[in-house]
Symmetry: C2
Subunit: 416 residues, 2 copies
C-alpha cells in the first residue's frame, strides 16, 4: 500500500439537519478504496465560511487528497466558492468556457437562463476546471506541491461523473499511485464464519495478500485488492484468487458489481427461458427485484402474491389436502405453488416462497422466520427449508435472495 491518504468533506446543511443521508461520502469512499487510496477522515459541515475554512485547514494538515462536495449552487447562501478563493488566496474570475456551457445548457432545456446562474461561471483564478456536462456548477481542483484539493457539486450524478471521468485518473497520475485492481466475489447461502472455516488454510498460506469480507443481509462479498506494480505480488494474488474460487465455487454468483436478479436475468435471456413467481413469505419482493432490471419484460411473465389459502388453491392449484394435512407453511405447499405458477403462466422456470414472515403468526410447531422455498426449471424441482429470524423485512430479503439462488443453482446444475 502507498502512504497517500484522502479525506472527504461534505458541505451541506441538509445532511446536518438529518434530512438527507450522506450517500455521496459513502460512494466516494468506495471508489477511492478501490484504487488503493484509503479515506482516513470524513467531515460534514454547514455551508458557512468559518466551518469550511476550519475543515479545509484540518484536512490539509493530515491528508494528501481532499475531496469536497456540495455548496456550489448559484444562490447567495452557497458561499463555498468565495470561501475557497479566499482560503487559497486567489480571486473569482469569469471563465468564458464555463459561461458558454451554462448558457447552452439552458438553451437546450428551452429555458431562459436566470441571471443568477452567471455566477456559475465565476471560478477561483488559480483553480483548474473539471467540466460538468450534466449541470451548471463546474468542478474545481487546486494543485499544491504534494496535495490535491477537489471541489465538486453535491448533485450525485454530477459528482459521480467527475470522479469517474477525471478525478480518479488525476489522483493516480499526480501521486504516481500503484495501479490497484480489485477482485470481487459475491457469495450467498453461506455465513461469514463458515466461509472463514472453508478458506482458513488458504488465508494462512496467502496471509500477505489483503482480503476483506463484507457481510450483508443477502450474502457476503469478498474483495481482494491487488497491487499491479509488483509482478510477484500480482501473480500470487491471482493464484490466491483462483484458489478461493475453487473452494467456494458453488456460493459465488458473480464476480462483478451485479445483483443476483441481474445474473438470473442474464442466464434466462441467453437461454431464452421465461420466469414466473409465486410469493407468500416474500410478499412481492422477488417480483420487485426482478422488475428493477431494465428489459426484464423479455423473460419475466409475471407473478402471483398469494396471501390466502383460497388463492393458493384457486390460482396456483395447491391441493386442499396439502393445506389441510401439512399446512400452508410446508415443503409440499412450496413445491405445489412453484409447479402451479409454472402452469398458470406457462413459464420455463419458477420460484415460490411460503413461510411465517413475522413478527406475528407463529404456531406451536412453526416459529417466526420458518420458510420453504421452491424452484422449478422445466421438470426439475428443488425445495429448501430455512429458519430466518424475527425481523419481517430482513426475512423477506433473505427469503428472496435464497429463492433466487435456488433457481440459479438449478439452472446451472449446481448441487444445492
Amino acid at each position: 500500500m502507498n502512504s497517500i491518504k484522502a479525506e472527504i468533506i461534505t458541505i451541506g446543511n441538509e445532511i446536518l439537519s438529518g434530512w438527507t443521508l450522506n450517500t455521496n461520502a459513502h460512494w466516494i469512499a468506495q471508489k477511492c478504496n478501490d484504487i488503493g487510496l484509503p479515506i482516513q477522515w470524513m467531515t460534514t459541515i454547514a455551508d458557512a465560511e468559518e466551518e469550511i475554512k476550519t475543515a479545509l485547514l484540518n484536512a490539509s494538515a493530515r491528508a494528501e487528497v481532499i475531496l469536497c462536495t456540495g455548496g456550489l449552487g448559484p444562490t447567495p447562501d452557497d458561499i463555498t466558492k468565495k470561501t475557497i478563493a479566499s482560503f487559497f488566496n486567489t480571486e473569482l474570475v469569469l471563465d468564458e468556457k464555463t459561461l458558454t456551457h451554462v448558457l447552452k445548457l439552458f438553451e437546450s432545456r428551452d429555458v431562459i437562463m436566470p441571471e443568477i446562474n452567471r455566477n456559475q461561471a465565476l471560478v477561483p483564478e488559480t483553480a483548474k476546471i473539471i467540466p460538468n456536462s450534466l449541470g451548471t456548477a463546474p468542478g474545481l481542483v487546486f494543485e499544491k506541491t504534494n496535495q490535491l484539493f477537489f471541489f465538486m457539486p453535491g448533485v450525485p450524478k454530477e459528482m459521480k461523473q467527475m470522479i469517474e471521468l477525471n478525478i480518479l485518473t488525476m489522483i493516480k497520475s499526480f501521486f504516481n499511485l500503484a495501479g490497484f485492481k480489485t477482485y470481487l466475489l459475491r457469495t450467498t447461502g453461506i455465513a461469514e464464519s463458515r466461509l472463514f472455516e472453508k478458506l482458513e488454510t488458504a488465508l494462512e498460506v496467502y496471509e500477505d495478500i489483503p482480503v476483506s469480507f463484507l457481510p450483508k443481509i443477502i450474502g457476503v462479498d469478498i474483495k481482494l485488492k491487488i497491487n499491479e506494480k509488483s509482478d510477484d505480488h500480482r501473480k500470487r494474488a491471482e493464484q490466491f484468487f483462483s484458489e478461493i474460487k475453487k473452494i467456494i465455487k458453488k456460493y459465488i454468483y458473480t464476480e462483478e458489481e451485479k445483483e443476483l436478479e441481474e445474473i438470473i436475468g442474464e442466464i434466462l435471456r441467453s437461454r431464452k427461458l421465461s420466469l414466473a413467481i409465486a410469493e407468500s413469505f416474500t410478499g412481492g419482493l422477488i417480483s420487485d427485484w426482478i422488475t428493477n432490471i431494465p428489459g426484464s419484460s423479455d423473460y419475466f411473465l409475471g407473478s402471483l402474491t398469494s396471501y390466502s389459502n383460497e388463492s393458493k388453491v384457486r390460482e396456483l392449484g395447491v391441493s386442499e389436502n396439502t393445506l389441510k394435512n401439512l399446512g400452508a407453511v410446508s415443503e409440499q405447499t412450496a413445491l405445489e405453488m412453484a409447479i402451479g405458477v409454472q402452469k398458470l403462466f406457462g413459464a420455463d422456470c419458477t420460484i415460490a416462497s411460503t413461510g411465517i414472515a413475522g413478527p406475528g403468526g407463529a404456531t406451536e410447531t412453526k416459529s417466526v422466520g420458518l420458510c420453504f422455498l421452491s424452484a422449478v426449471y422445466k421438470n426439475k424441482t428443488s425445495v429448501k427449508k430455512f429458519n430466518f429470524g424475527a425481523n419481517r423485512r430482513i426475512n423477506k430479503e433473505r427469503g428472496s435472495m435464497a429463492a433466487l439462488e435456488s433457481l440459479r443453482r438449478l439452472l446451472l446444475d449446481i448441487e444445492s
Copy 2:
C-alpha cells in the same frame, strides 16, 4: 432557538472503507434537530487512538453535546474505551452490574460467554453508565461543567434505544432546553413548488414561525418546530399549523412518522375491507410495500404482477379489444385490470398500474414514464394518468405511491 449545539462522531473503519453507509449519524441528527438541538459538525474516523483523541478535542472546543457511536466491541481492535478513559484522565474499572447483565444476556441465549466479553464490563471510572438491554456494550456519559459527552455502541438498534430512552432526556434536563414539539405533515401528489404557491400567503403572515419542506421521491414532508416555552409562540404556531392543514388538506396522508401503506392498512383494518392489487408498471413494488406492514395478511388477499398481454387477458379479464385498440398502456386497461383483480380475489378494494417504466419500451405516441393508475372501492372507480421521468426505479416508486394515494382518496371520499 437556544444556542446549545451538538456534534456527532462516528468511529468505524467500515464507514471509511465505503462498506457501510453511515445511517447512524443521519438518524441521530434527525432526533437532535427534533428537540431543537442543531448538529453543527459530523465526523467519521478510524478506531485509532490518535484519531479519536483529535476528534474529541476538536469537537469539545466547539460544541456542548458530543455524541459518539461505534468502537465499543469487546475485541482488541476496539480501542475506543481505553482511549476515552485516557482522554478524560480516568481508569477502566470493572462494573459489577454490567458484568451481571452481560452474563445474563449470554445465559438467555444459551451460550457460554467467551471470556473476552468480560471486557464489556470495564468502564471508565468517572463515567455514568447508560444501560443497554439489547446488547453487551453499555453506553457511557461524561458530564463536564457545561458539556455532555455520550459514547454509544454502533449497533443501530442499541444506539437508538439509548437515545430514545435516556440520552434525549438527559440533554434536555442538563441544559434546561426549551421544550420543542415537532409537527409533521406528510403530503403526496403535489410538487414542492406548488405547495409553496398554495401556502405563500400563510407563510408570509407567519414568517416568524420556522417551517421546513423536505421533498422526497414519494412526496413532500412539512415540519414545524414549536418552542413550547413561549405560550404566545406556541399558540401562533398552532394557528399556523391548522391554517396550513386547511389549505392543503387533501394532500396530507398522515401527521405521524408513518408510510402511506401503513395508513391504507389502518383504514382497511378499521373498516374491515380487503385489498388486492394488479401490477404492471410497478412490477410488484406495491405488493412489497403492503406486505412490509406486520399483520397485513388481515386485509391483503394478494396481487398479480402481469408482465404480458396474455396474462392481463387470462387472469385479469382485460378485453382483447381494449389491448388491440387502446394498448396495454391506456386508461381503459388500467381500469379493467383493477376491476379484474377485484373479481379474481373477491376483494373490496383494488389498485392497478400499467405504463412504460423505462428506460426502453417507448413508442411514437407513448414515452417512458407514462403510466395509468386505477383504484377501485366496491363499485366506485378512479383512473389517473401520470408522466414520470426516465429512471426505472424512481418511476416504480412514484407510481406505487400515486396508486396508493388514489385508493386513499377513494376510500376517504376526497376528490382527486
